[in-house]
Homo-oligomer: 338 residues x 4
């Protein structure tokens, strides 16, 4: 059992991490710290899990980190960027950071996150935790940046087409996220009566460069907020190479994901489509596709739970991949031997 530490345990993602670690056969949840400066210390852990959030004083964190084999960070972006170098000094543990603090190239931080990255050397060594597509790097690194929620939904759908060399133009990505994606803090635009379906971050969301960098291709990304708690649906329209057939696309997705432990295929979108209700509160992605052979246009749909596959459960899958734990996520928060 690996001693496991969660920092930033009071937020929506942190709470999911607590449940996923508790049910994990190889991880032992030793400490759950609040983010520095938060007022959540002393709060109970999620219903059904014994314990409480500890005050995130740096000394306490570093002492716990020293004895940990796994450290999960669900802290704000800039906090993660500052914390990881300190943790690395005190600990050899595998660090999985769920913030945006280690996902982009150093030069992109001032524009997209508003700060100069304080740990460029570590950033250069961080690997992107897109499970199934970057596993060799995940196995080989002690610092993993778990992908963002929109990038996970988008990249899982687009990677097969990109890697197969079928992409022939700009993907147009329209995605809708549940409100938990905005985090737990108090914001006027996430008050209950203020939420309804609307686009935001048009032509300027920081997940656009994250997707572009890890896809290796430019795109148009338009996120939306929807009036539901959890889940993301990304619908993608993308030109493909002339002559591509539906049968070819069927085979491609089957080959990439037919045996995948956490990506499920719904098949041709004209018959059945991914839906938020199929994946909310699960660690699974669900992907469907439909090719317009006459116009060489591929429509993709990809659904995930933003807090699980889009954050916490993918972070645990990174741990499984790194340590070669042969585990499959069960519905809810459990893990089953493959």
């Amino acid at each position: 059992m690996l001693n496991t530490l969660i920092i930033g345990g009071a937020g929506y993602t942190g709470q999911e991490l607590c449940k996923l670690v508790t049910t994990h056969p190889q991880l032992k949840l030793t400490h759950v710290f609040a983010s520095a400066g938060s007022k959540n210390a002393g709060e109970p852990l999620p219903l059904g899990i014994t314990g409480q959030i500890q005050d995130g004083h740096p000394d306490a964190i570093m002492a716990a980190a020293h004895d940990a084999q796994v450290i999960l960070l669900a802290t704000p972006h800039e906090a993660s960027a500052a914390l990881v170098p300190q943790l690395r000094e005190h600990s050899d543990a595998l660090i999985v950071d769920l913030s945006g603090g280690f996902r982009l190239e150093a030069g992109a931080y001032p524009q997209w996150y508003g700060f100069e990255h304080p740990a460029k050397e570590l950033l250069a060594k961080a690997v992107y935790g897109l499970v199934g597509w970057n596993d060799k790097a995940i196995k080989g690194s002690k610092l993993i940046a778990a992908p963002g929620c929109y990038p996970t939904a988008t990249l899982l759908a687009l990677k097969p087409v990109m890697e197969a060399g079928l992409l022939a133009g700009l993907p147009i990505v329209n995605a809708v996220s549940g409100v938990s994606g905005a985090g737990k803090s108090n914001k006027p635009h996430t008050q209950f009566c203020e939420v309804s379906l609307a686009p935001y971050g048009v032509l300027g969301h920081r997940h656009q460069p994250e997707i572009a960098q890890h896809l290796g291709h430019d795109l148009v990304f338009t996120p939306h907020l929807g009036a539901f708690d959890r889940g993301i649906l990304a619908t993608i329209t993308v030109p493909v190479k002339a002559g591509t057939t539906q049968a070819q696309v069927d085979a491609l997705y089957q080959q990439c994901y037919g045996q995948h432990p956490s990506v499920h295929l719904s098949g041709d979108l004209r018959r059945q489509a991914p839906a938020i209700k199929n994946v909310a509160n699960t660690p699974y992605a669900q992907i469907g596709w439909a090719l317009d052979e006459a116009r060489n246009l591929l429509v993709l749909a990809s659904a995930i739970d933003n807090l699980l596959k889009g954050a916490a459960s993918q972070a645990i899958e990174c741990i499984n991949t790194h340590f070669d734990f042969k585990l499959r996520p069960l519905p809810g928060y459990g893990w089953e031997a493959l």
Copy 2:
């Protein structure tokens, strides 16, 4: 006061028509008939309106039609296509059909609606009721096909760009509709627990040819069902002519809609965006835009209430246009002199 007849008054759209006619200063609601074969005869009209749904026996309808100046049809597509010729025989009234029975060219009906159109001559004379863009035809015809909900949201957003000659490629339209768009009848996929955000009708929805025909340009249209009662949000990504500027687009939308009684502009999407909550239960469209000048890509967002601006209130605006009633729709169901 014009005697006004509603056929198909028990459905969601029919109920909204009842309220809009009741509050109208120039219309007198004389009869509300159920669709033929429905079991709704005898049901009360919406709360606050005296009267009940009458049995839709053809004799009763034709007698009432004879004395009417306005006939509103909220009947199923094929029922409308069959009913309009009979009504025309018995009545000189303005007929506004809210179904899809008179929106497409005759040749398109077998593929998209599954029937050979029974009234091709009348269909050839029917005009498309897109208020603000087809007003001369609306004034001149006694048979108006009120536009579909998705086409209304999409066309109101795209028409300015199209008519200004700025369109330079295939518009990608992603739209999400509330569940009332699926009508009132009992369907497994609209059971409460079965609804969540998901695409449907991918590459094969009948509103695609409707939009294409009345826009005059092909497009990709992907509709979605969302877990809310009312409203449509369409998000559109479209290539525009190189060199187009944001200022030019700002001016274009101001010119088209700055004084429009039922289309409101939210402006640059990077600052403020249309939202379902802004238009649900109102007769208004809300439109925003953002131009990526570097990539010559325009992102448009358009929000309407699918039952009002996407159906019933636009139908009444057709009447206002036809008879030259100078009226502006108020929030809710009222009308104010311009």
Copy 3:
């Protein structure tokens, strides 16, 4: 046309007042002021209504009040209590206050509202605006306290039984309100993801003394917050005099409300029940009842829109009653001659 002034026009209730006054045949909306100290000055009025929120500087308010015949206050409780005496000095207008500032006896304010009432003489002259039950007083007073949302739903259901002398024990009132009842300000517990069905204010909500005082009988009142925007459903269980019959109760409600312009009866709850969807976005209450003749227990259900019948539209009905305008509220925001 009476010059009408709204103070506190930026909140949810204030916005509804704007729409209701705009559509009113006898009222002319002259000014909409922000609450003192709010940052809403300069914001546009609701979609479809021309104008904007004015800064609520006392001098500007008093100048406008001087020329007004009607003043509507949708300000916080303590602000209303302080503002009304100043308004009275500058104006003879009918004042309708929608806050809790003039609903209780003076002695109750420190306990329930946390302040000593600053205008006890005016408070003593204020009348309770429960339309249909206090009309003579409403006609005779220039200061009307519009009832709270929960009290409106509860009192409309219980008054017939109480006044008929059938009440024989403590009414148990369980009510669920939509989130707009908590107002527009930013609160952690009304963040979208934090809202679900839960009781609050148990044994200590300030609407308990309001109901008790205006019913003339003690009760148990347990409010709940539900995950929806608008509407209140109150379900009431109350012992009645032995020997009461269902037929007697049927007749009683028909007599009280059979001709009422804004209270609709759904009849025996065993056949049909009031529902939030029937009344949301309408100015109507819907009431049903079922008598357990064996146990002498009456179950009542009462549904309203908390922002309309529970606030703004009842406030306008107070104006109608005071000035003897013979008007019936239409679905949405319109008014029709009786």
Copy 4:
């Protein structure tokens, strides 16, 4: 590992059973049958669980039952009542029936379920599976009737007061259920747009006699349907013996549930209250209370997930109790050694 059979696996409860059995360390899911006559045979099991629904032909069921140690029935009430005697002939397995087919006394079936019970001898031997309150009987019987959803929420809250002899009058139970409680079949009143908060089954719901029988006291029970997927909140107002104190009630609930693996206490309702969001998608109940010492009235609130603690997870807890498996349900669907 005990061979475990699910009959009626395609409904909402059946799907939850599949997940709970899959994650259980002592149970092996061998067969999932459709209810007789359903069209669900061939459908896949829930996302993440390998396998499909089998056709529920009696021969296949009886053959599987012969080799099973545990049989879970999520079949309709009358189907369960008919099926249990046949299963008993072919199998010694522990049978847990989640329908209402074995919860009431034989004489109550014609009135409340509309059929004469076909297996009165077995019914007389069936025990009520209210875990924590009927454990000795659950250990001793091979036929367990898992409690209904409303009865679970209500009885868990009321049992402590009843058993302590504090109950001094008729409990008034108001409860709101999510729509999944109405099952998966297609019904007009559970269409998405038709659902909102409303009472139903007033003075005539079949869970009233179930609660009364297993509480040992009459009550008034008013259920409501709310516009959400999962969860039940029951709010109960009940007279208690004069002189009862809040401290006494605090101690009573701590004593009954302080160590309970699936009942959590939120404490005094005036400080914190149970909420649907706390328990939805979990196997936990959450209970709070507040005593009005002046009026000797106790207000209780009890929240559960109707499909889990109100059905499937309590059924598994019955198995744990019967076989003395020392397990605690984890958040989601997992189980942990006590």
